[in-house]
Symmetry: C3
Subunit: 320 residues, 3 copies
């Protein structure tokens, strides 16, 4: 278990921080998914409104830009009645840890109760969680290539809505596994929920090291990777990597690893297609697939705000 | 009628989107002005507060910066009780339409009910309106050189407050007509409201093409343009254009087209002076005029938030 | 008395603006500290919530970035029930005063009641205060090197919590006095509250001109400056200045003027250490001191939001 996992709970066993899904007990995950499902509403109906976080202050502290994820956390907090402040800060790298902690102590002294932190370097959410006062909760909104726990939960919730149970599923995660926090959080949550056939699909330079993704089968071709699966989970590829370090350029990447309607036919007929967004249409995924009947990509977004409401309500509600 | 105009109404005739004033029926315009007038308060008194938009989420999605317009929409939505989120996004140009739609679908899945969109390229608000779910409304907050409908409405409201009726008015629009969405929306709203004597005043390079501004008289000199008018509507000139493409530099522009107290005397004694802001004082308008007794520029700002409240309440309230 | 001080009160004597602590009567300061103390809560308990500013709109208009101060004002206003909008504007320098006033008039016309202004040039808050409508209040959130009144009040509140009375205290302000608005506001508030032994400590190039800080003793060495004092108030040093204009580099600065545990021993055993943040640890202050038992730096932050709530409630509540 990582340092992050070890420090997520209070002494009484309740969830205090959400930093990683690695090592998070199945009971926690299932409770959060259940609570999140209770916050899901059909498109076009009113979102759930609650006063569970009235008098609570949530700060979104982002050191890398991510409008979508910030807005999702912001709306989740507002719909629970919290006060929300957004901070986009640039920290000089030389004194980054110190500056981050001083910023965090400032927020804490301003009576911020929950800090939602997104940072491109590994270890920052854990560092913050290890230093804040006992009543403060830290939620990771994306940590380097390491962890994106609310994304993992929303992915699990999306699968659960479509497939009911996990253990007999086949799930393929496709793309830049090596650099992906989305892939790692998906791996952890699906493993804990009992998925047996979990596959990672990538060209060699984007495969993770041998010590990671234990128990996953590894596929160099998309065709073998998606054959017969229930879920195809596409990842965003950084266009900057295309054509570099032994990688094909964008056109050749699409020719080899792009999810097209033809390739999707290799999966089960009722397979669902997921993507964390933003998408590079025509590079990792064809528009016909992204917008097609098997796509649940917009459900993922809707589930994201529900999951964030559930996590916020859970960590605040259980602090006693 | 443009594509934008055709798609603004629901099947039952109620207003769903506000993308352009071109082709918007006079009955809609008059209803919106009437509702807006109900939200106008004197300076120094409390703004109107309503719970008409409680449980409704409004997103300001701006791809070009405009602090004033964003704040005006933000306050309008908040004073109606809505939750508001602000997004300033940069979209890479190659895949702009796609990226915009994916962002919009994300917002829609986050239960955003109204999207306020400002974009420097023509066609984006229409594109979004054509693609969102039936319960979502799209309001243009400025589209390229094409349209700025809430500005047009606040201009009309300002004139109405001062002049009561429209058909016997003479109105001069002065400045960079060619590149101005403000001028185009003013043209449409004043035409629909029955203004007979509508004039555009500009140096040749800033005149619009012959097919536009049908029925307006065209004036190359400010003197002939403002003679005897009831309303002088100044436009902001982009300083970057000064001295280029056959245009005089800033000093010469002011000498030729700047609205000075002397030139204003050519208009009717009770003529009013308008400007959409921000002003280039000393270039298109003299400070004495901008701050003078005939100026209603601050009324325009106050009316802007009232108009935006009216439009928000109208499109949300009529969705059934 | 400065122009700023002369214009801070209404005709009936109530406080309308807060631009500077220079010349602010002791009765005002003590009332604000008393009100602020009423808004102070222990860390980990809920912040005070009030509806004193319901229907009131507060705008944070910052032309230089300051996330901390903006968030402190934002939370203060929200916890009083106000609507808050944030504007970070860049104004072109050539027409800065004009642009600022046009922006301010826009906000005023949008029914903004309180403008919180931060600007790197001297005179801007006064300029704004001199031009807004009678019902509008202006609060300085930092003006050039001149004034930072809410910082001065929170510093005074922090000292008051620890030391009860002011007149027999010895207080040392250490660092870049010359360029510091924090030092100037501290000087004014401590003088008015009756502090007799007020010292400024700096290398020669960072000492203020002879006409300023009247009555303060001047110390070139940290050792003599902090000897026997009750309060050590450290200032942030701009790293850009290090090694320039006869200043030592960062390492030598720390060797000469850094507050270390050893040097702190020269002060009274119950001396407190303050810093306005953000800190340059290892340059003006050792981490052991910043995080040590005598540090009240986090109290300052907590007191900051209480002071801002007090000031907001005071200027709005007394406008009749």
């Amino acid at each position: 278990m990582t340092a992050g996992a070890a420090q997520q709970h209070r002494a009484n066993g309740s969830l205090r921080h959400l930093l990683t899904l690695e090592g998070l007990p199945r009971s926690d995950i299932e409770r959060l998914l259940e609570r999140a499902q209770g916050f899901v509403r059909a498109l076009g109906t009113k979102p759930p409104i609650s006063s569970a976080l009235e008098g609570v202050t949530v700060a979104n502290l982002f050191t890398e830009p991510s409008t979508r994820t910030r807005v999702s956390f912001e709306l989740a907090a507002k719909r629970l009645g919290a006060d929300v402040v957004n901070l986009e800060v640039q920290l000089s790298s030389r004194v980054k840890g110190e500056s981050m902690l001083d910023t965090v102590f400032t927020l804490q002294s301003l009576h911020v109760d929950v800090m939602v932190i997104r940072d491109p370097e590994a270890g920052v959410p854990e560092l913050v969680a290890a230093n804040v006062a006992p009543h403060v909760s830290v939620l990771s909104a994306g940590e380097a290539h390491v962890s994106h726990p609310t994304q993992g939960l929303l992915d699990a919730l999306t699968v659960r809505q479509q497939k009911k149970q996990f253990d007999r599923l086949s799930i393929a995660i496709v793309g830049d596994i090596r650099h992906s926090r989305v892939a790692r959080s998906a791996f952890h949550v699906f493993r804990t929920l009992g998925v047996q056939d979990l596959r990672i699909v990538a060209p060699e330079p984007l495969m993770p090291g041998a010590g990671e993704f234990a128990g996953c089968s590894r596929h160099k071709t998309l065709e073998s990777g998606v054959e017969g699966v229930d879920v195809v989970m596409m990842l965003r590829i950084q266009k900057e990597r295309m054509g570099q370090v032994d990688l094909p350029d964008a056109d050749r990447y699409f020719a080899m690893y792009g999810l097209t309607p033809e390739r999707l036919k290799l999966a089960r007929p009722d397979a669902i297609v997921m993507h964390p967004q933003p998408m590079n249409r025509g590079i990792e995924i064809a528009s016909d697939v992204a917008d097609g009947k098997q796509s649940v990509i917009r459900d993922q977004v809707r589930n994201g705000v529900a999951v964030r409401m559930a996590v916020l309500a859970d960590v605040v509600g259980s602090r006693g």
